[in-house]
Symmetry: C2
Subunit: 358 residues, 2 copies
């Protein structure tokens, strides 16, 4: 019997994945040249579907990398001469900050304890920070920063570039790309695909910065997947190096499925399932939502404290063919993490809740 994966990525594959994969194999997409018209049509289709789904304007390009982690490095190399600023409230926002330090950027941070979130009013962006790095959804702690708060912050610091990590939440957050300069995600989360493909959305503001930095003496923006080379190739829907062609094809097809359902419906379904889960966690003696403030609670990665050791809860669920994640890092044994992505239905979430009650 197959498991249902409620893990926060890699996660349950989206139900239509298998059929799109079969079509791709029938059409031999795994063998086509990435310099062929067939590939350019695939890239264009995926670009159009993501553009519709996430409401991305013509000012922004959509690029492919090996992973979202790769994008952390790329945007820091391409968009920061000296200083970046990071909102850190968990392990992944911390890694983004660590990347900046490894690249010898002067990295500022504002930090919240694990399980707490940021609001607009909390944040003072340092004067010389060039790039503000915001994590919409902290996969490790289940904390979100609401898009409205991110937008207010950007409006206050409109001259600075804003980059939003939507790795474990896209397409849920309704980001306003008329002001947000860049965002990125990976496909093994809410898009329900196997890992191995990162998606980087970046606007002309980012490109201009990268081109400027590239002209500076003694400044390198890297060699692989630089924004100017990605952008140049993108003009003809090509990529600088051979990309994950099969992944790009399937991503376009799943984004098309999402568009057929409609982003509003998808968001409503996500909120409904999240409401079911949080309500259960609040009312059951054996569990408690980890994130105290309702407005900071993630809609896509729900983290709960468990009264029993989390391994007992996880193993019992496993017996019932449901896979849930453990807590992250030092919370491994006292928390569980439940992904709430489009691949799992209301019925499946209801079944999980029944299992957790046992």
């Amino acid at each position: 019997m197959k498991n249902t994966y409620f893990t926060p990525g890699p996660a349950e594959l989206y139900p239509t994945f298998y059929q799109h994969l079969q079509t791709a194999l029938d059409e031999q997409i795994g063998s086509i040249s990435h310099r062929s018209q067939t590939f350019r049509d695939i890239y264009k289709h995926t670009d159009e579907q993501l553009r519709t789904l996430l409401n991305i304007p013509a000012t922004h390009g959509i690029f492919f990398t090996g992973s979202a982690s790769e994008v952390w490095e790329r945007i820091l190399l391409n968009c920061v001469e000296h200083e970046s600023f990071h909102l850190v409230n968990g392990s992944f926002s911390r890694k983004f900050y660590d990347y900046a330090q490894s690249l010898h950027k002067y990295a500022h941070l504002a930090e919240k304890p694990f399980g707490e979130g940021f609001d607009y009013a909390d944040i003072e962006v340092p004067e010389y920070a060039e790039l503000v790095c915001v994590t919409h959804n902290e996969t490790s702690s289940g904390v979100q920063m609401r898009p409205a708060e991110i937008h207010k912050l950007k409006r206050k610091y409109s001259k600075k570039l804003f980059c939003v990590d939507i790795v474990s939440s896209a397409p849920y957050p309704d980001l306003d790309f008329s002001i947000i300069d860049s965002a990125f995600f990976s496909v093994q989360k809410a898009f329900g695909m196997p890992a191995g493909l990162g998606v980087w959305i970046a606007g002309k503001s980012c490109l201009e910065k990268a081109e400027r930095l590239q002209r500076y003496d003694g400044m390198t923006i890297g060699a692989h997947h630089t924004l100017p080379t990605l952008w140049k190739n993108y003009q003809t829907f090509e990529t600088p190096a051979t990309p994950n062609v099969l992944g790009i094809y399937i991503l376009g097809k799943i984004a098309e499925d999402f568009n057929r359902i409609g982003i509003d419906t998808l968001r409503r379904q996500t909120e409904e399932k999240a409401r079911m889960l949080y309500k259960f966690l609040e009312n059951h003696a054996d569990y408690e939502p980890f994130v105290a403030d309702d407005r900071h609670r993630s809609q896509t990665v729900i983290v709960a404290k468990t009264k029993q050791p989390s391994a007992d809860v996880i193993n019992a669920a496993r017996q019932a063919n449901m896979v849930i994640g453990s807590g992250y890092g030092k919370f491994k044994e006292s928390q569980i993490r439940i992904a709430n992505f489009p691949a799992t239905s209301v019925d499946q979430v209801a079944a999980l809740i029944e299992q957790l009650k046992k």
Copy 2:
């Protein structure tokens, strides 16, 4: 009717690919955590099979990236403080050199005209070059450098790190990893898989260099996929970021299939098919092998000059459901490129030759 792809990557999928993919889907490999024992077992298996296939000693680790192009950047960042040296005789060895320049390394080069190859006796490595970058097989021009020549060069310059691009030839070349410090390839060539996974083999000599550079003031070895973080995670068969898990699984299975056939048999088959192709090209009035010197002729990417416009040859083959590559860059219209990878059999090569005769 399905096409047979003789293109030099992406290429024909290896016949067992489909069955391995099906097993992976049945076992839900696309959903498993990259921090699980199941994943560690997969990485370990792929590591063991590649180690057997390519005769890689315990001094070397095997790491995964998004592509082979990514490895160009990684090895330059991790193993070059100031100076690299590049043997350039085509578009891909040139790109490796370009990457070094983009990273502001002092990049030396020895260059041969397109279609010509290097021998040991030709090469003087500059005194301060730290890394010697050799392309075993130039995918653009169909030129190889024989492993024996590479080994002689390394023995002469034994203190320098040697890195060999085997992107479009692995597992064919019999490299001696007791002296070769690093090599890399991508899976969409001779391993017959869809693109989206690079493989980086690097020895302790490379790690030590990276660790040394990391300690230097003002020196960055990058942030993503640095050799020290790859190596640290590799100790428990993990990866720093979520990798292409499905690709790693299938690569291990195909490497296992290759080991079952035996690397000697695979190499003999490759040579036999290459002999058939070159013999035909030499004896037919409409074609001519592009690479004049027999010892520089690639066994895995065979390039031919065509009397007719190459598009005519390519289109005619296409009608017969055989896909061959065009020439690279400015040779697009006057050359064809034929991949000779394990995925295509002697019979398929014979059928292609019959087609080219028409």
